[in-house]
Amino acid sequence: MHTYFIRKYKTTMLTLEWLTGAWHWSVSGLLIALVLFLMLFFGEKFGVSTSFQTLCSIGGAKRWSSYFNLDWKKHDWLLVFVVGSITGGLIAATVLAPSEAMVISPETLQELREIGIQAPVVGAILPGELFDLANFSAWPLLVLGGVLVGFGARYAGGCTSGHAISGLSNFQLPSLLAVVGFFIGGLVMTHFLIPFLFTVL
């Protein structure tokens, strides 16, 4: 009886460790494909940036453009997805909170240190230099980045989920071009603009 409980305790701790530790990339890739499967199964499309269009429509943006003249109730599943994502984040941050800091490539950390970004501490996902609310000098960068994400995703007709995942796995040429675009923009920002922009931090 005694050994049974010890064994039970050990398995429980192992499961918890597996859940709270970082997950392997293949697990995450499969889970994303599972989300795609569930979306298609229920007759929907998998594309998160459409939620921006939907939110604008709800806010009454059709005053400015017919682009927002849509029946957002058809896309109400997206709002459920948004609420689900926020809840998922909350659970991951509390119940499944990690006990160790993220393991990031040392080369990346070194290059980031040179532009004033320190390595992540335990529990941190984002650098405080950029995302601490009290760090007002970073706000313009967050606004700039946000506008680019919203504008670019809708202009391209999709973001990472709609183009890189759904589109590529359906062999769509426009999606391949969009992903090429993601990398042109991403590489220019990372290697040429960020070193310059971060001097304001």
Binding site: V143, L148, F151, H163
Partner: protein, 121 residues
């Protein structure tokens, strides 16, 4: 998403610096597994909920918009380290500054809606 750290700004930086396989692994597995899923639906081997016929639609052939819009999106993705899905997840984590990014993304969307007729597609 959180547990494999794909919502992390640091991971996106690693990806755009080609210093880790992590993000490529996540996206690669998702695309390969996703392709299997889409082919199974297309061939009619599996059906959707209550026998629904699922046929993933082709993306509109707006090649210039894909490339140009994609480039704008990439600039924003590298700067904020978050695409739309992760933005919502990070909000759940209690990163309130993400509200600034989400609000700005809505402004960006609005901007696209207004300018759409004048942009090349």
């Amino acid at each position: 998403m959180t547990k494999s750290e794909v919502i992390s700004w640091y991971r996106i930086q690693e990806m755009f610096r080609f210093q880790s396989f992590h993000m490529y692994g996540v996206i690669g597995v998702a695309v390969i597994a996703g392709a299997v899923v889409q082919q199974l639906f297309k061939s009619g081997y599996i059906n959707g909920y209550q026998g629904l016929k699922v046929s993933p639609k082709d993306k509109p052939k707006t090649y210039r918009a894909s490339l140009l819009g994609g480039t704008f999106f990439g600039l924003g993705w590298a700067l904020t380290g978050a695409c739309p899905g992760p933005l919502y997840i990070l909000l759940g984590h209690g990163y309130w500054s993400i509200l600034i990014v989400i609000a700005s993304a809505l402004i960006g969307t609005l901007l696209y809606g207004v300018l759409r007729a004048k942009l090349p597609h």
